[in-house]
């Protein structure tokens, strides 16, 4: 997983779970990477200053 502090998977079916809906700046690169590589295109990122 590209951002393990922000996303996890459900044990029963593997569906992605959002652990932190507004991650801090230090997570930004990892979250961008996760959104870019997620094969299910399930991650939408909105960036506000």
């Amino acid at each position: 997983m590209a951002a393990p502090d922000v996303f996890d998977q459900r044990d029963e079916d593997g569906i992605v779970v959002l652990l932190d809906p507004s991650p801090g700046d230090e997570q930004l690169d990892a979250v961008r990477e996760a959104a870019g590589v997620c094969p299910a295109l399930a991650i939408e990122l909105s960036e506000t200053p």
Binding site: M1, Q9, R10, D11, D13, G14, R32, E33, G36, V37, P39, L41
Partner: protein, 387 residues
Amino acid sequence: MNAPASVLVVGASAAGLATAEALRRKGFEGRLTLLGAEAHLPYDRPPLSKQVLSGDWVPERARLRSETTLSELDIDLVLGEAAVSLDAAKRQVKTDRERELAADAIVIATGVRPRALPGTAGLSGVHLLRTMEDALALQAELTASRRLVVVGDGVLGTEIAATATKRCGSVTLVGPQAAPMEQQIGADTAKALAALHAERGVDLRPGVGVDGLVETGGSVSGVRLATGEVLPADAVVVSIGSMPATEWLAGSGLRVEDGVVCDAHCRAAEGIWAVGDVARWHHRGLGRSLRLENRTNATEQAGAVAAGILGAAGAYEPVPYFWTDQFDVKIQVYGLPGPHADTEVVEGDPADGRFVLRCTENGRVSAIVGWNMPKQARLRRAEIAYA
């Protein structure tokens, strides 16, 4: 090497688009051109044999990115125009509209083309599946009263058979292996998959070759097996593998041997890279060349190629990974399950319809296969060790 001022990506499907996106994400600010032979905005292929074929998704839902997201990438998106030749030394591509595109770095992402059965061109009712048009044409043939025969028991053929049971009264899957996808998932899991298909109404004809198709008045009417038996069919899907789309590279100066031959960094020549289904690169960890036709590799390799173009030094040596969804089963495969691996159930229980299998070869974990246990399988990926 200095970062290039311009990059041209040839191929606008998953690998090509992911390369463009990764370049921008990693800070590339130069001119970026994405050239695609298909007229559609970039779309995802895995849903074609599943949600699109079943009719659960409208075609637009398979788009990889929205128009807004694409425009924010600030790329020259050239669609419906195919590359017809490459001059690797000049880093120049010619298109079928007689245009010449040059760039400091060129990324080859032209994918693969499905293999056809010889002598079946123009025969009505015979289908291949690679593009959105292919999926919709096949979908139109799948109705309750029709009999579908799928020729080919690899990942694609097996997925099509599973999906087709939702729409067709009769689905038959024919292939040379003892059980479907044996080569990709190993014998034990393939047996479980065969049982699942049989239980859900797929007529499996394993271990048999196909001699040819039977024609009646310009339409296919059956599939002739090597045993002489003829399976009656109203529609036939041929999914017997594919070939890298490299014809346009003839005379380019690049080495092409079942894919564009690349070094450990996915570089085919100075300033020329290859990514996705079309790329055959040297996987250092496995100690051999590899070409992977799967969705995950398209994205991962795109990240590696983008990093390489921008000057990063690392070799690309991923743990191969693909998934397939069939009926209500999700299969995840990390690594390469060889035919001679020892296998052991390490999580769950096949009797409960959920398990993780570990494959070991020469004392090393070669693959992890998950059956309805995606998270547990992923957590064991780290057991696969190269080097």
